[in-house]
Amino acid sequence: MDQIAVHQDSATSRDWPVAIYRTLKSFGVAQVCYVPDAGHSELIKLSHADAGIKTTVLTTEEEGVALAAGAWLGGDCAVLLMQSSGVGNCVNMLSLMASCRFPLLTLVTMRGEWAEFNPWQIPMGRATPQAFEIMGTTVLRLENPDDAEEVISAAASLAYDGDQQVAVLISQRMIGRKKWTKETH
C-alpha cells in the first residue's frame, strides 16, 4: 500500500511539464519556440500537439528572443524554451527586449549544477543567472515540481503584464540524472 502511494507521488512529480503547459495556456500563450532539451521534451510534445500554439524549432536560442518580440508586436504571447548552455547566446538579443520593454518569458532547464557528470556543462550552467542578470532579466527558480504552477504563473504575470524579461531556471534536480547507458542512446 505504501509502495503504491510512493509510486503515485513520483508520478505526480513527473507531471510538472503538464502543470507548466496548463499555466501557459491559462495566460493565452500562442507561440512556443525552443532549442530542444531532454528536460523540456514533454512540454515540447504538448506544444506541438496543440493546434492553438504555433510551435517553432530554432537553430540557436537568440532567434527565440527576436521571435518573442515579433510575436508581441503582433499580439501573441510567446515562450522560449532552452537549456542553460544556450543562455550565453542570447545576451546581445536581450538588449532588444530591454530597449523596447518587450515581455519575455523563457524557461531554462539547468545543466551543470546537480549531479552533473559532464564538466563541459558546468561553466555556462554556473554563469546562467548572471548572464541573464547583466542584461536586466529577472531570474526566478523552480526547484520543486509542486511549485510549477505558482512559479510559472508569477513569471508570466511579471512578463506579460509587467513588460519584463523573466527567466525561470528549472532545477536539474527536477529533471533527474542523465543516464548514459546503452538503452538511452
Binding site: V57, E63, M93, C100
Partner: protein, 196 residues
C-alpha cells in the same frame, strides 16, 4: 551578372513600399532602417536599431501572430548573414505572408565598408533556397522590384526571399525614431491593441 549591384537603395525601397496597403514592415539595423524611414513614416513600420541578426525572426514572430497581414522584412546582407540560421527556422514554418528583402551591397556599410561574405561570393538566395524557402529571387533592376512588390500581398505565396543588388555608395542618413518602447506601442496601436 556582376556581384555588385547598381540599384539606388533609397529608390528601390521606396518602390517596394509604394501603395503599401496593409503591409507591416520590420527593418534591420543600420541603413535598412534609414531606407524604410526615408520611404515614408508609418505606424506599421518597426525599425530595429540593434539586435543584429534578429530582423527576420522578429518578422517571423509577427507573421505567425498576424497571418492575414503581409509582413515584409527589409534588411541588409550583413544583418541577414549574422542571423543566417533564421532562414532555416522560417522555412520550417512556411509562413505564406512573410517576405524578406535583403538589400545586398556586398559590404558592411555602417562599419567602414568591409567586404561581407556576400561580397566575397556567398549567394543569399541560394542559401535561402537550400534552407527550404521555396520562393527566392535575385533582383538587379527596378522591374524586378516591381514584380516582387506585387507578389507581397499574395498571402499564400511565401515565405519569399529576394536578394536585391544595390549599389554600395554612401547615402545620406535619414534617422527614424529610436525610442523602442514608443515604436512598439505605436505598432501595436496600429494593429488595434490598447496600450495598457
Amino acid at each position: 551578372m556582376s556581384a555588385t549591384g547598381t540599384l539606388d537603395r533609397r529608390a528601390a525601397v521606396k518602390a517596394l513600399l509604394a501603395d503599401r496597403g496593409d503591409l507591416l514592415v520590420i527593418s534591420g539595423l543600420g541603413s535598412s532602417s534609414y531606407d524604410v524611414f526615408d520611404a515614408g513614416e508609418h505606424p506599421g513600420n518597426f525599425y530595429l536599431w540593434g539586435a543584429m541578426g534578429g530582423a527576420a525572426m522578429v518578422g517571423l514572430g509577427l507573421a505567425l501572430a498576424q497571418p492575414k497581414r503581409p509582413v515584409l522584412v527589409v534588411t541588409g546582407d550583413g544583418e541577414q548573414l549574422m542571423g543566417i540560421g533564421s532562414l532555416l527556422t522560417i522555412a520550417t514554418k512556411q509562413p505564406g505572408n512573410l517576405s524578406i528583402a535583403v538589400l545586398d551591397n556586398g559590404h558592411f556599410g555602417e562599419t567602414g565598408m568591409q567586404l561581407s561574405h556576400s561580397g566575397l561570393g556567398a549567394k543569399l538566395e541560394v542559401i535561402a533556397s537550400g534552407a527550404g524557402i521555396g520562393n527566392v529571387s535575385d533582383i538587379a533592376d527596378m522591374s524586378g522590384i516591381e514584380n516582387f512588390r506585387n507578389s507581397l500581398r499574395d498571402l499564400g505565396g511565401g515565405p519569399r526571399l529576394a536578394r536585391i543588388r544595390i549599389a554600395s555608395g554612401e547615402v545620406e542618413r535619414a534617422l527614424p525614431p529610436r525610442d523602442g518602447t514608443y515604436l512598439k506601442n505605436r505598432f501595436r496601436g496600429h494593429l488595434g491593441f490598447v496600450v495598457k
